[in-house]
């Protein structure tokens, strides 16, 4: 166990598609568990960092203050940090709102939307609800990111190739396997 590398994963402003694609490595999971131990991740339901981790995979961009906090804790606790997928790399589809003033976004979503019952048309706000940011930010504009795996989602092959290389201390070669869609 001790010489195994450790991996942590998280989904910020993403759709979990990158995690689904990670699961698409299928039988290679058998090889993966020989090489790594999966630590904090939605896949293990381990909530906090109990130790330093070798590789952190970030799905999703940064759209609220909680995302900022979580991303910073990943940076503090992971030796190598990877932006996984278009949302982490450039904001992705959530960043389609980046040209619309936040006020208009919230009003459209909560006040003007036809499915809101008349008595309940309020913009939700509570100290326990993360505060939405003015824009959706690419992860590398918030913390230093070491590697990027493009795709929406990245193919299982590109995730596997990058992970396997990094576990073995090599540079990932994604030419020919990566895509932007």
């Amino acid at each position: 166990m001790t010489n195994k590398k450790s991996v942590a994963t998280i989904s910020l402003a993403g759709c979990f598609g990158c995690h689904m694609s990670f699961c698409d490595i299928d039988e290679r999971f058998v090889d993966l568990v020989e090489l790594v131990e999966i630590h904090k991740s939605p896949l293990t339901d381990i909530k906090g960092f109990e130790k330093r981790v070798d590789i952190g995979l970030i799905e999703g961009g940064v759209c609220n203050d909680e995302n900022v906090e979580v991303l910073k804790s990943f940076r503090e606790n992971c030796d190598i940090l990877i932006s996984l997928g278009e949302c982490a790399i450039m904001g992705g589809l959530p960043a389609l709102r980046n040209n619309i003033p936040l006020k208009d976004c919230l009003e459209e979503a909560y006040l003007r939307v036809p499915t809101t019952p008349h008595s309940q048309n309020i913009i939700p706000h509570h100290e326990d609800i993360p505060k939405i940011l003015d824009k959706v930010y690419p992860c590398h504009e918030v913390v230093k990111i070491d590697y990027f795996i493009p795709g929406c989602p990245p193919s299982a092959d590109s995730i596997w190739i990058a992970l396997e290389a990094l576990i073995k201390g090599k540079e990932p070669q994604l030419a020919g396997v990566m895509s932007y869609d």
């Binding site: 932006s83 040209n99 824009k135 990027f148």
Partner: protein
């Protein structure tokens, strides 16, 4: 096809230090291709006549200057540098600039898989642009009957403004504004007068997903598109 006339003078030039035979006035992109060197191009396409030289993605070095290969014509004794690491990185940086200047959401783009810009990004192994995303505020023009104009994706290559005319020989697209306000304006009346064939032609001519045919959307699955392997 790159037309090589029998009457043109044969000359010798150097491509990355290697002497090759060329015809005087030959287009450098085509000449390099003939000798197995693939210079990336974006605004250029084979057989286009006079080149636009707008995107600079085919930048090479001649006499210690950076020049666009598509607008350069072969001359006796030329010594051209093409495939150095710094030139490859410069070309990649130019592609990255186009990605951050527009709003390129490839996962939701109808041209994805058929797009020359996306293809070059992948070919030059761009995983992330080195520049900040600008998220410029650009619009979509829905006013024409058959064409949708997506300003978020236009790279201002001038193909539609300089290489496309309607049946009456009139231009349908023109540049408007200056500097960072430069954009392509579509003449709605002329766009509405285009035949289906001409609409298909201009959609194909646009290297990115800026000029789209209304009602077409996504017509082929991933795996069957132009640049899918």
């Amino acid at each position: 096809m790159n037309k090589l006339s029998k009457n043109t003078k044969k000359i010798n030039i150097l491509l990355d230090g290697k002497e090759v035979e060329a015809q005087e006035g030959e287009n450098i992109v085509e000449l390099a291709k003939r000798h197995g060197i693939d210079i990336p191009v974006l605004c250029y396409y084979e057989g286009m006549g006079e080149c636009l030289g707008t995107c600079r993605v085919c930048t090479i070095r001649w006499k210690r200057h950076h020049v666009s290969a598509c607008t350069l014509k072969a001359e006796e004794g030329m010594d051209l540098t093409i495939e150095t690491e710094d030139l490859k990185d410069l070309r990649k940086a130019l592609i990255e600039l186009l990605f951050v200047e527009g709003n390129h959401f490839c996962p939701s783009c109808e041209k994805s898989g058929d797009c020359d810009l996306q293809h070059l990004g992948l070919k030059l192994e761009m995983t992330v642009p080195r520049f900040h995303y600008r998220f410029n505020n650009r619009s979509i023009n829905f006013d024409a009957d058959k064409i949708l104009f997506e300003h978020n994706r236009c790279i201002l290559c001038k193909r539609c403004t300089h290489k496309f005319e309607d049946d009456n020989g009139e231009r349908v697209f023109a540049f408007k504004g200056k500097g960072s306000n430069l954009s392509v304006e579509m003449n709605i009346e002329r766009a509405n007068g285009l035949s289906e064939e001409l609409v298909d032609q201009v959609v194909e001519l646009c290297p990115v997903g800026a000029i789209l045919k209304k009602g077409k959307g996504f017509d082929r699955p991933i795996g069957k598109r132009k640049y899918d392997e």
